[in-house]
């Protein structure tokens, strides 16, 4: 996994609440057996005017001019700014894969759905929770100032505006440690093999039917 330490990046606004993972990456693209290549189809139904299909070239598809992320001023954005309950719905990890492949490294929202939030950390994508009033101010600033960029520092747990105004955000120490160092969860877990086996031996005595 790609480590996340600090970034300074252009902010793209997605001014909607309850953006679900079906919207982030529609179902037809879930047929892929790969982990990569979902970026061009992120937000497919909002982003393009025609219907997207796996294998179809996205270069000459008609873009929806009303979709914020299509505006020239937000091209190259690495921070997605959005509203509450982002990533609700399906558990598809294709959603963070698509956002990461699109070029986002961090998301700022007042809240996230649990499974999506969890999936982000497995993919070097940092989901930042800031209070709704701060998010509202960031929306206003993003709309008002072309090229509006924020600095995110995971070690310090801060988001900093161009004015140097800084907001602190919370993140689990364990998740932070893994993301900062780009650690592979499975290798870490397998260091606990003895403990897992001891649990199994104990559990087998209590609940043998689980081990038939």
């Amino acid at each position: 996994m790609k480590p996340f330490t600090r970034i300074e990046g252009l902010v793209a606004p997605l001014d909607r609440a309850n953006v679900d993972t079906d919207a982030i990456i529609p179902k037809q693209f879930l047929k892929s057996i790969k982990r990569t290549g979902f970026g061009p189809n992120a937000f497919d139904e909002w982003r393009y005017l025609d219907q997207g299909e796996p294998g179809k070239s996205n270069h000459d598809r008609p873009l929806n001019p009303d979709f914020a992320l299509n505006q020239a001023r937000y091209q190259g954005a690495s921070i997605l700014l959005t509203r509450e309950n982002f990533g609700c719905g399906s558990s598809r990890e294709h959603a963070p894969w698509a956002l990461e492949d699109y070029g986002f490294r961090a998301i700022i929202a007042p809240s996230y759905a649990d499974i999506f939030y969890n999936n982000c950390f497995k993919n070097g994508l940092l989901p930042i929770v800031l209070p709704a009033d701060v998010v509202e101010r960031l929306f206003q600033a993003t709309f008002a100032v072309e090229g509006y960029a924020l600095r995110v520092d995971l070690a310090a747990q801060t988001v900093t505006a161009p004015t140097d105004e800084t907001w602190h955000f919370d993140v689990d120490p364990e998740r932070k440690h893994r993301l900062l160092n780009g650690l592979d969860d499975i290798s870490l877990t397998l260091q606990y093999t003895d403990k897992i086996q001891a649990y199994e031996a104990r559990r087998k005595l209590e609940a043998p039917w689980l081990f038939v």
């Binding site: 309850n18 529609p26 309950n85 990890e93 963070p96 969890n118 499975i186 877990t189 559990r203 043998p208």
Partner: protein, 475 residues
Amino acid sequence: MQPRTLYDKLWDAHVVQVEADGTALLYIDRQLVHEVTSPQAFEGLKINGRKPWRLNTLLATPDHNVPTTSRVAGNAGIVDPVSRTQVETLDANCADFGITEFKINDPRQGIVHVIGPEQGFTQPGMTLVCGDSHTSTHGAFAALAFGIGTSEVEHVLASQCLWMKKAKAMQVRVDGDLKPGITAKDIALAVIGRIGTAGGTGYAIEFAGSAIRGLTMEGRMTLCNMAIEAGARAGMVAVDERTIDYLRGRPYAPQGALWDQAVAYWRSLVSDADAGFDAVVEFDAAAIQPQVTWGTSPEMVLPIDARVPDPLDAPNLVKQADWERALMYMGLSANTPISEIQVDKVFIGSCTNSRIEDLREAAAVAKGRSIASNIRLALVVPGSGLVKQQAEAEGLDRIFRDAGFEWREPGCSMCLAMNADRLEPGERCASTSNRNFEGRQGQGGRTHLVSPAMAAAAAVFGHFVDIRNIANEVK
């Protein structure tokens, strides 16, 4: 010992290790595997030279991509080559690793969340995961069951464990008697309508109260299935005699002396009388009416006798914008009576409502009637091959066919339209599935979530009707 909730008991029994910040390594008893969220996990295992930790904790089946038309040709019958490759990849991975799989033309194939309980693979006291958010379904058996992403699918395959923070506990109490025609689906939608799609975020929900005790296991599964639509990764119901009766004799259920030992343990899987919850939400069962969603989120739901809301009445500006967008997408005007909304298609199926009891409730409405002339397609998709067999043994297939419904092969089908069953742009559907998100049933498709009886009634009348008005005729 301090009184504990059911969730506490399930959690405590599975903790392998706790880190300083409270993150726990949790042991996972069972994993269900399907074709969509597993290929990258198996690829990861292969790249790193890893193997599944415990093979007999796994059960796989293809469900999302499979066609609901004839299965005679097996995988070759999947017309879309991309879908076919995904199903073939599951077959190959299961063969390579030695994982039990119910393949496309196995009579036991079906939606993972239907076949787990049906096989007795899902049992009380277990931790059970699947790369699918509707894994919450299995909590109906007093299991701790939740959906995970593909990285975690791989993690559980490789280590039989997951790193997790304990959630808060919410009790949703539904007391009293449901009115005739009101189902678990209506309870689920009423709960989501009240607490919202993020109301359960960060919580594990235990459904309790006399109305929940009164539900069949199928009803409890429907309810727990929709916990995720309220934002809760896990929903659960305590063990009672119904739970135990349901599991007795199922293929994967414990046998002989182990059965007795298991049952004795299972009976302890209830919240202690004085256990505290972080949140409690109470409902009067008798006040729950037939529910119909009108928008593009499951929380946009109202009783059948209501009118489509006016965005000007929204509680805040964010919601007002949401409602406006939803009405535009749904092609609805404010203040339209819900009962005047006409539908084009009807879908009875999905992991929410494709079990035998669901099909019986729908068939009771369809019996002796015909679908309305404006209905382009009314699909009935059983949740598994065994549900289909049972329904056919009871003659339900004939009732549906005689009324003009199509009787199909099992799978996820038009709940998410990964196969050929889908809505065309602008088409409106009465659906027994779980999500009315934009594009969920096909790009531009408009979904209204309802119970099986309400869906069948919409097929017969061509628009939504109050099931209570015809419930008297339905025996």
